[in-house]
Amino acid sequence: MTQLADGRTADATQPSGRLRFLPHLVRTTAFKLTAIYLVVFAAFAIFVLGYVAWNAKNLLDDQIRSTIDAEIQGLAEQQRLGGIRRLVQIIERRSRGPGASLYLVTTPLGERIAGNIEALPPGTLDRPGESEIEYARSSEALDQTNHAIVRVFMLPAGFRLLVGRDVEERERLRVVIKRAAAWSVLLVVVLGCFAGWFVARRVLKRIDGMNDTARSIMAGDLKGRLAIAGTGDELDRLAGNLNAMLDRIGELMSGMQQVTDNVAHDLKTPLTRLRNRAEEALRTAQSPEQLRAALDGAIDEADGLIRVFNALLMIARLETRQISDSMAPLDLAEIVDGLSELYEPLAEEAGLTLSASVEPGLSLTGNRELIGQALANLIDNALKYGKPEGDAPATVAVTARRVGDMIELGVADHGAGIPEADRSRVLERFVRLDQSRSKPGFGLGLALASAVAHLHGGAIRLADNAPGLDVVMSLPVAPPPVDRPLFEAPAGSTSQPDAAGFQSA
C-alpha cells in the first residue's frame, strides 16, 4: 500500500518538476522563434507537396482521358467498318489481355455482351460522357471494388460502349505523396527543433553570461565588463554599448566621489574655523560685547558655508538640467552693461578700470539670472586676480560679440593669468590655484559659470591675454537644447546643439 502511494507520489512529482522547467523554456525568445519557424516551414512543406500532388493528379487524369478518347475513337471506327459484331470481337480480345483498360458493350437494355467489367453503379450506362465510378472486374470477386474513369458512348441502334481506365496509379501516387508529406513535416519538426535548440543554447548561453556579469556588477564588482565574442553581431554590439555605459557610469561615479571628497575637505576648513571661534569665545570672552562679536563672526562663517552649499546645489541642478521653462530671449547689452555698472565701484576700489563693450543688437535665448550670475562670477574673478604686476594696463574688459552662431561673452584682464596646464582644471569644483589661496572664495565661481554655459549648450574657454587671462563664455544664439543625452561625449561636443527641444527636460 505504501509502495503504491510512494510510486504515485514519485510519478506525480516527476512530471511536475519537468513542467516547472517548461514555462521557463517557453518564455525564451529562442523557443518562440523556433516555434514560429516550425509552423511556417511545416505549412510551407505541406503546401508545396499538396500543390505537386494536385498537379500530378490533373496530369494523370488528363493522360487517362486522352487514352480513353483515343480508344473510343478507334473502337467507334471499327464499329462503323464492321458493325457491332466486329466491335464485340475486338473488345472480347482486348478484355482478356492484362492492363488497366476497361471495356463493356451492352445491349440497349443494359445486358452485357462483352467486356471485363462485372459490376457498375446503376445508371452509369445511361449517362453518356465521362464519369468516375467504382466498379468490379470480371476476373475478381464482386466485393473488391476499384476506381476508374470511364466514358460511355452510344452506338447506333441503342448499343452502348463503355471504355475506361483504372486509376490505381493515381491512388498509388496519392499514397506516395502522403507519405512524403508526413516524412517532410516530421523532418522539418526534428530539424527545426534541433536548430532551435542549438540557436537557443548558443544565444541563451551568451545572454546568461551577460546576466551573470550584470549581477556581479550590481553586487559590487564595478570593474566587471561584459564579454565580447568578437563576432560583431547584435549581441556584441549590445555588450559593447553596455560596456561603454558602464565606463561612463564609472567615470561619473569617480567624478562624484572626487567632488564629495573635495566638498568634505573644503568644508572642513571653515567648519573647523567656526568651531574654534566658538570655543575660543567661550574660553576667553570677558564681556557680552566680546561674546556678541564672536557670535557675529560665527554667523558670518555659517553664512559663507550656506553660500557654498547653495552654489554646489545650483551646479548640481544645472548639470542634471533641472532648470526648465525659464529660457527667454535676452538683451545682452542690458546684462553686460548692468553687471559692469554693478561691479564698477568694486573695480575702482581694487584699482582697476572696468570697461564694457557690446556689439549692438545682440540677443540670445537663455536664462537671464543664470547668465548674469555666470558673468558676475567671471567679473568677480577678474577683479580679484586681474591686478597687473608689471606695467600692463590695469583694465578689465567685458565684451560681447557674435562669432558665427555663437555669442562670445569675454572677460579679459591683465593679471597673472593661469598657466596653460591648469586652465581646464580650474573649471572644476573647488579647484583653487595656489596663488589664490590667500583670497576669499571657495573655487566654485568658474565651475558654476561653466555649468551655466553647458546648460545653454555652450562652453567656457580660458585663453592667454598676454599678459593676463581671457575667459570666454560662448553661447549659441539658437534656443539651447536641454534634451541632450545625459551621457554626452566629453570635450567639444557640448557646443554642438542637437535638434531636441528644451521643454522636455
Binding site: D303, R307, N310
Partner: protein, 227 residues
C-alpha cells in the same frame, strides 16, 4: 503687525514666532497648509509667511486659492528649493516675495516689514520722497539735501529711491540687488556695500546727521536722525 506663519517644522515655527514677537509683532502659527488656508481667510493678517512644502495642502496652492478668493494679503514664500525657476513659480502662484532656506532672520524680518508696509501704503506711489532735509523728486529726477542739489548717477538715484521709499525700514543687501539691479543671485562679494558707500559719500558727506545707516548683520536704513 499681525503675521501668520504657515510652517510644518515645529521647531522652525516656534523660533520664528518667538523672533517676530521679540521684534514687536504678533505672530500666529499654522502647522499645515489646510489650517493655514483656513486661518488666513478673513484672519485680518498683515503678512503671510508660507513654507512651500506643507502637509495636506502645499504652500503655492494655499496662496493660489487665497488669491482666487480675492484675498490680497501679502505672502512671502519660504522654500528649500532655492533655484531660479522656483522663484518664478512662487511669484506666478500669487506670492509677493520669495526667500530660499536657509535664510537669516534679519532678511526675513526686513522683507516682511516691507511687505506689510506696502499693504498699508497708498497704492499709487508718491511723486517724491522726503526724509528730514533729504528730498527726492521722482518726476524731475532730482535729489536735494537742505536745498543743495546732489548729482547722482541713474543707478545711484534708483538706489536712494528704494532706500527712501522704505525709510525707517531695514533694507537688506539682497533686497537692493533684487529691486535696484533686478538680479536674484549671490554676488559673492560686498558689491552692494561699495555702491551704498558711494551713495553715502554723496548724500551724507558734509552733513552733521547721516541719513544712510548701516544696520549690523542686516542691511541699511534711511532714517532722519536730526530730531
Amino acid at each position: 503687525m499681525r503675521l501668520l506663519i504657515v510652517e510644518d517644522d515645529a521647531e522652525a515655527a516656534a523660533y520664528l514666532v518667538k523672533a517676530f514677537r521679540e521684534a514687536g509683532h504678533v505672530a500666529d502659527h499654522a502647522p499645515d497648509g489646510l489650517e493655514g488656508y483656513a486661518m488666513a481667510q478673513g484672519g485680518g493678517y498683515d503678512v503671510l509667511v508660507v513654507d512651500r512644502m506643507l502637509p495636506r495642502m502645499d504652500g503655492l496652492s494655499v496662496i493660489r486659492s487665497l488669491r482666487e478668493q480675492g484675498e490680497t494679503v501679502p505672502a512671502l514664500i519660504l522654500s528649500a528649493l532655492a533655484q531660479v525657476d522656483d522663484r518664478v513659480k512662487g511669484l506666478r502662484a500669487g506670492g509677493d516675495d520669495y526667500l530660499p532656506k536657509p535664510y537669516a532672520f534679519s532678511e526675513l524680518l526686513a522683507r516682511v516689514e516691507v511687505l506689510s508696509r506696502r499693504r498699508s501704503a497708498p497704492t499709487s506711489e508718491p511723486t517724491s520722497y522726503r526724509v528730514g532735509d533729504l528730498l527726492l523728486d521722482r518726476l524731475a529726477h532730482r535729489v536735494t539735501r537742505a536745498g543743495e542739489e546732489i548729482v547722482l548717477q541713474p543707478r545711484e538715484f534708483r538706489l536712494l529711491e528704494y532706500l527712501m521709499k522704505h525709510a525707517g525700514q531695514v533694507v537688506t543687501r539682497t533686497m537692493l540687488l533684487e529691486n535696484v539691479w533686478d538680479y536674484h543671485f549671490d554676488p559673492q562679494t560686498n558689491v552692494i556695500d561699495v555702491h551704498v558707500s558711494r551713495l553715502r559719500s554723496k548724500v551724507d558727506k558734509g552733513f552733521e546727521h547721516p541719513m544712510i545707516h548701516t544696520i549690523r548683520g542686516a542691511g541699511y536704513m534711511v532714517r532722519d536722525t536730526a530730531r
